[in-house]
């Protein structure tokens, strides 16, 4: 039972993006209700790695917002003294295998440096100082001291508690059946169990499922699920000093066309990410698969992830892999997430489509969303993220 009937904002989705949005709206004094179809952490935010990776961001709005988001995380660590957020600043390195990758990465690193990111290229000898366990097949790497990480579960729990403290409501296992525009201009959100609440604002933070929510109000939101599978190791002593990614991870993420053209052959978008959690387990990934909404782990993908890990870091042969996870990265066509109000549906906002950057970008997404809802004047550059950028294409197809 939902104890009141009307809200300032109803947020659909209690993943990290929905919770961040509800948290920042609550700080602005809004009465919020969060509706989640599943349970706590059942979606992508509970089945991903923990990185706040700046090196992977394209220079431009994603990188700018990542800087701001990292600052919000640092503030969170200071302000939420009672939460163990497992925030770590281990730095990150991107491992480079071929001269072609090196050329691409040198250019990419230069662009990032021009945009204010502290990142360098290390030669093999320097790389080995940080990462004595990586295989000899790598010829160089990048290094940035700024790459960080945080426990998504801990952040979500922290948001949850604070949303409740300011009177916000959260209902799990409460999928939405329909959203209609009432005569007074407010939205009527009906749950599958038949309850209806009204709200000035609806925030679609349904991640990989945001398209379905958009459909309920006749809005086209081109977000598709890409399955990412990871394996988790037992707790082990540190393997190297920083977290790791492969240059292929960057290419898979930034230039999926290149990976396909090159015929990587695996068909599962395999790339390498290697991050140490606060407890000493390693999260090792990952794949990017077009598998619809089939969430099960697959034998082939797990084998590929594990083989690659042992190939890249041979000492992992001695380590037990204790768990596996799979989650849907909500991907857009242009690699930018969606944040803003739909022009044809005033009061209906979308904050979704972060693909692999949801954890990194959650605080800044929530903060900007709250500013948009409150009608603050915001920078022109945010129009790049507007959901309305997809409208013309829909009409062509329509």
């Amino acid at each position: 039972m939902i104890s009141r009937q009307s809200f300032d904002a109803v947020i659909l989705g209690a993943g990290i993006i929905g919770l961040a949005s509800a948290y920042y709206l609550g700080l602005r004094g809004k009465k919020v209700l969060v509706l989640e179809a599943g349970g706590f952490g059942h979606g992508s935010s509970g089945a991903c790695d923990d990185m706040i990776l700046l090196q992977s961001k394209k220079p431009g709005i994603n990188l700018q917002l990542s800087f701001k988001s990292l600052e919000l995380y640092r503030q969170m660590v200071r302000d939420w003294a009672d939460e163990e957020l497992d925030f770590l600043n281990l730095g990150g390195m991107i491992l480079i295998q071929t001269p072609e990758e090196l050329t691409i990465m040198e250019e990419f690193v230069q662009q990032q440096r021009d945009n204010g990111l502290d990142v360098t290229i290390l030669d093999k000898k320097e790389m080995k100082k940080y990462q004595p366990f990586v295989s000899d097949q790598f010829i160089a790497s990048t290094y940035s001291s700024i790459d960080s990480q945080v426990s998504p579960f801990a952040v979500m729990r922290g948001y949850l508690r604070r949303i409740k403290q300011v009177g916000g409501l959260i209902r799990f296992y409460t999928p939405v059946k329909g959203i209609k525009r009432g005569s007074s201009g407010t939205w009527a959100v009906e749950t599958r169990s038949g309850e209806t609440v009204s709200s000035e604002v609806v925030v679609n933070a349904a991640g990989a499922w945001a398209g379905n929510i958009g459909h309920m109000v006749g809005e086209y939101i081109p977000i598709t699920p890409k399955k990412g599978q990871l394996v988790i190791t037992e707790k082990v002593p540190p393997v190297g000093k920083t977290n790791l990614w492969s240059a292929r991870y960057m290419v898979t993420k930034l230039r999926p066309d290149l990976v396909q053209a090159e015929g990587s052959g695996n068909g599962i978008g395999l790339s390498f990410s290697f991050t140490r959690t606060g407890d000493g387990n390693y999260l090792i990934g990952s794949t990017r698969e077009k598998a619809g909404y089939v969430k099960e782990n697959s034998y082939e993908a797990l084998q590929a992830v594990i083989r690659q890990a042992v190939d890249f870091i041979p000492t992992l042969r001695q380590v037990h892999f204790i768990r596996t996870i799979a989650g849907f990265r909500p991907a857009t066509e242009d690699g930018l997430f969606i944040l803003g109000e739909h022009a044809d549906s005033p009061g209906f906002f979308t904050a979704a489509g972060h693909e692999g950057d949801g954890i990194a970008l959650a605080p800044i997404t929530g903060k900007i969303l709250s500013e948009m809802v409150c009608g603050d004047s915001l920078g022109e550059e945010l129009t790049q993220l507007s959901p309305n950028r997809f409208q013309p294409k829909e009409k062509i197809h329509g």
Partner: protein
């Protein structure tokens, strides 16, 4: 990919019984266990079982284990030991790592998961010290490896595991300095409890561990009385000298494989928590997959064996090895034995819990996918 008709994960009482039943019906069976020896927990159960004649009452667990192994050998059942099952994919593919070396992917027409349960831990200051262990671990040490875990033992939990292991520790030459129970009354069968009491072991009801203390291992333990709301009562702390604390604080079904395979779950506090939903034929929501024993709800070795037989029979029947009428008659006989095991003061609760699992998905046939 190699194929087997029936692949059974776990060679404890449930898995062995399932293997024997399925192989007797004519199925090609592969039985897989991660340990170096089959038998699960049976071989450390040196006490006599309860129940009626047909439940092997009066026979020690270890002897029941030997008989089951003989039956399995006579049926030439294929057994892979030192083999870990790491996942089940597409409802019928089983990923096995053999001898920590070789990865094998097998296809099974039917899979029976009989992975048992794991011991629960309770947390208190000092719980990480060497000397704190599961009661089952202590039982393995004394009855299988013939090693005494310590000289002065405090048992936490007065259920059957707590009192049986206490008695066996006494037999093995340890001193049991006490059995503590958080609830206001004792939990185990009277017969087992009385044997421990007659040996002079003090029992403390409404008591919990306040802290274990010691430098490099447990040296002493502070216990404290709790009120009906489980809050410590000031002034009731006692310090006992002990080098070992055994935790007999319940078991949790080992459900990971079933859930990885996509089996729907249901919650049963009486039977140990989340268990895969199953019907009375031990079939889960994934059609190819059956379960048996503690994974389907924590009970006893005797019920585990009957559930194993049921799963083995029904898996064989679903493959056409047993004709329908025959399967029904034999299934009813097994069900009758299970009902008998689930009667009485303790049994009735488990029977009701089991029945609410069966009905959790409405009509069992519609529940299967």
């Amino acid at each position: 990919m190699e194929k087997r008709e029936v692949i059974i994960v776990g060679a404890g009482p449930a898995g062995l019984s399932a293997a024997v039943e399925a192989a007797t019906a004519g199925c090609g069976v592969l039985l897989i266990d991660e340990n170096s020896k089959p038998g699960g927990q049976l071989f450390k159960q040196i006490h006599k079982f309860f129940g009626s004649q047909e439940h092997k009452a009066g026979i020690r667990g270890i002897d029941i284990g030997k008989r089951l192994l003989e039956e399995a050998e006579n049926l030439h059942i294929e057994v892979w030991l030192d083999s870990e099952v790491c996942g089940i994919f597409d409802a019928n593919k089983v990923w096995v790592v053999r001898n920590k070396k070789e990865t094998v992917l097998l296809q099974g027409d039917r899979i029976i998961i009989a992975t048992g349960a794991s011991e629960n831990a309770v947390h208190f200051p000092g719980w990480h010290l060497p000397g704190v262990m599961g009661a089952g671990a202590a039982q393995t040490m004394i009855n299988i490896h013939r090693v005494l875990p310590g000289e002065k033992v405090l048992m936490v939990g007065s259920g059957n595991v707590g009192v049986i292991v206490s008695y066996q520790l006494l037999q093995a030459g340890a001193e049991v300095v006490g059995v503590i129970e958080a609830a206001p009354r004792l939990g185990g069968y009277g017969v087992h409890t009385a044997k421990v009491r007659r040996a002079g072991v003090p029992f403390f009801v409404s008591h919990v561990v306040a802290a274990a203390e010691g430098k490099d291992r447990v040296e002493k333990v502070r216990i404290v009385q709790v009120d009906p709301r489980w809050n410590p009562v000031p002034g009731t702390e006692k310090t006992l000298k002990a080098d070992t604390i055994c935790l007999a604080t319940g078991l949790t079904p080992l459900t990971e494989l079933a859930f990885l395979a996509g089996c729907e779950s249901t919650y049963s506090p009486v039977l140990g928590g989340h268990v895969p939903w199953h019907n009375s034929a031990m079939r889960t929501s994934v059609r190819h997959i059956f379960i048996a024993g503690d994974i389907s709800g924590v009970e006893e070795a005797s019920t585990a064996m009957e559930e194993g037989r049921m799963a083995g029979l029904q898996a064989a029947a679903s493959l056409g090895h047993v004709d329908e009428a025959d399967a029904m008659i034999r299934g009813k006989a097994i069900q009758a034995r299970l009902d008998a095991l689930r009667s009485g003061l303790f049994g009735e609760k488990r029977k009701n819990a089991k029945e609410s699992i069966f009905s959790a998905m409405g009509n069992s046939n519609n529940g299967a996918r």
